[in-house]
């Protein structure tokens, strides 16, 4: 009887290196609820997954490099607009390389899953090695409102000597770092009066300083009528009326630094033939002497002959007293005095009857005047 003893090939076990190549992938998307945009948007820049298996055979029989897998399958669990992802529509799988391309955005707050299973069949030994990979995918909602209202200036000092006429005061609503489009924004300007902000009146009486734009981001005002106007702008996005932002700006008439002085034009030294004494009030600023000084100041000139009371001479920048007012006693010194007060912006003239206030008008227009802003000092 013949007897046999079999021999067989012995292979060292191969080593495997399995990896999932991720190209342009983000597992967590962000959904900007304000813009309605995904970040990143996979319909524009898809997420791509490529499974790769490298087999290293110590015996050198299996060629080095990437090896194909068998029984490969993807489980793709995602949802867009409530619809589960479908192959060919929301994602594609390359049958040769098993490359997965997702070109759909995941619904916010939906937890999806990506899973891959692949096998390697060792033809030499008939042994099967299995490889699995999985990740969760999701999408978070965020409202990138971060609203802020930017104000050009919070205080605007308007010098009467430099009349800007009508000018704009601007604000801008920002969402994040970008200006919010005007079409999406609401702006409301209000004015401070009697301890509260109220709507701006466009009746041409109460708010003469107002020109236009009370419901835009640029309100136009007229310097001539601005003495002290505190404005507040409230802004919000159409779709988020509860998220308001406010900014205030103070518009004020401001004279800045100036000096006033009196110059004797004649009669400072009294000679027998001196007929009168005359003096002029001058105002100087850093840039020079103020011309047309009565336009900006209320000036009263007084005269004192050395005894008795100060006497009123005139309202104006130039005053004159005749010789007859001079002191009789030659030992006495005479002098001019002056009271200089800043004039207000144009102020409407009103008449109050009981609890009601009426505007004085002429030809349909409100009459205005400029008045000293401080009380007269005695």
């Amino acid at each position: 009887m013949r007897r046999e003893s079999q021999g067989r090939a012995v292979f060292q076990p191969p080593r495997f290196a399995f990896q999932m190549l991720e190209l342009g992938v983000s597992y967590v998307q962000k959904y900007n609820a304000v813009e309605g945009e995904f970040n990143p948007d996979r319909t524009l820049t898809p997420s791509v997954f490529v499974p790769q298996l490298t087999v290293i055979d110590p015996d050198g029989i299996i060629p080095e490099g990437l090896q194909p897998m068998v029984n490969a399958s993807w489980t793709v669990n995602g949802r867009t607009n409530g619809t589960s992802w479908a192959r060919g529509t929301h994602y594609q799988v390359d049958p040769a390389t098993h490359r997965l391309t997702i070109n759909a955005n995941c619904d916010p707050h939906y937890a999806g899953l990506l899973a891959f299973h692949g096998e390697y069949f060792d033809h030499r030994t008939g042994k099967v090695s299995k490889f699995d990979w999985k990740r969760t995918i999701s999408c978070e909602t965020y409202a990138d409102n971060r609203l802020s209202l930017h104000n050009e200036q919070s205080k605007v000092s308007l010098m009467p000597f430099k009349n800007r006429g009508q000018f704009d005061q601007n604000v801008q609503l920002f969402r994040g770092e970008d200006p919010a489009p005007d079409g999406q924004c609401v702006y409301r300007w209000r004015v401070w009066e009697d301890g509260a902000f109220r709507a701006i009146s466009s009746d041409g009486h109460a708010d003469l300083w107002y020109v236009s734009g009370a419901d835009t981001k640029s309100i136009r005002v007229d310097q001539d009528y601005i003495q002290h106007v505190l404005l507040q702008c409230t802004a919000y996005l159409h779709d988020y009326p509860d998220e308001t932002r406010t900014a205030t700006v103070l518009l004020r008439r401001w004279y800045g630094q100036y000096d006033d002085d009196l110059v004797w034009l004649s009669g400072k030294y009294v000679f027998p033939d001196t007929p009168r004494a005359e003096a002029e009030v001058v105002v100087t600023r850093r840039t020079g002497m103020v011309a047309d000084v009565m336009k900006y100041f209320d000036i009263e000139i007084l005269y004192h002959k050395g005894t008795g009371q100060w006497q009123h001479v005139c309202h104006g920048c130039r005053g004159m007293v005749p010789r007859s007012m001079f002191p009789v006693d030659g030992t006495l010194t005479h002098r001019f005095g002056w009271i200089l007060r800043e004039k207000s912006a144009k102020t409407p003239l009103t008449v109050t009857v009981g609890a009601s206030r009426f505007y004085l008008t002429a030809g349909g227009k409100v009459l205005t005047g400029r008045f000293p802003t401080t009380a007269r000092e005695e």
């Binding site: 190209l23 342009g24 945009e37 990143p40 948007d41 524009l44 820049t45 898809p46 791509v48 391309t101």
Partner: protein
């Protein structure tokens, strides 16, 4: 997120042609995450890329 259309040459250099929408003539649509390895300012100056809005990016994809 910012989107850019980059020239095919740059896309090739960055290895993006395999998985981003585009072609040799039109260029490739990428996002800022794809460009972390390059100097966007310099490439922009060289005319290799231009930033596009989301709507422009959609138009680009739809025209391909």
């Amino acid at each position: 997120m910012k989107y850019y259309i980059i020239k095919a040459e740059l896309a090739g250099r960055l290895g993006l042609t395999a998985y981003r929408y585009g072609n040799r003539e039109a260029g490739y649509l990428v996002n800022q995450g794809d460009l972390v390895m390059c100097d966007i300012g310099q490439e922009s100056g060289n005319g290799q890329l231009k930033e596009v809005s989301v709507s422009q990016a959609r138009q680009f994809v739809n025209k391909l």
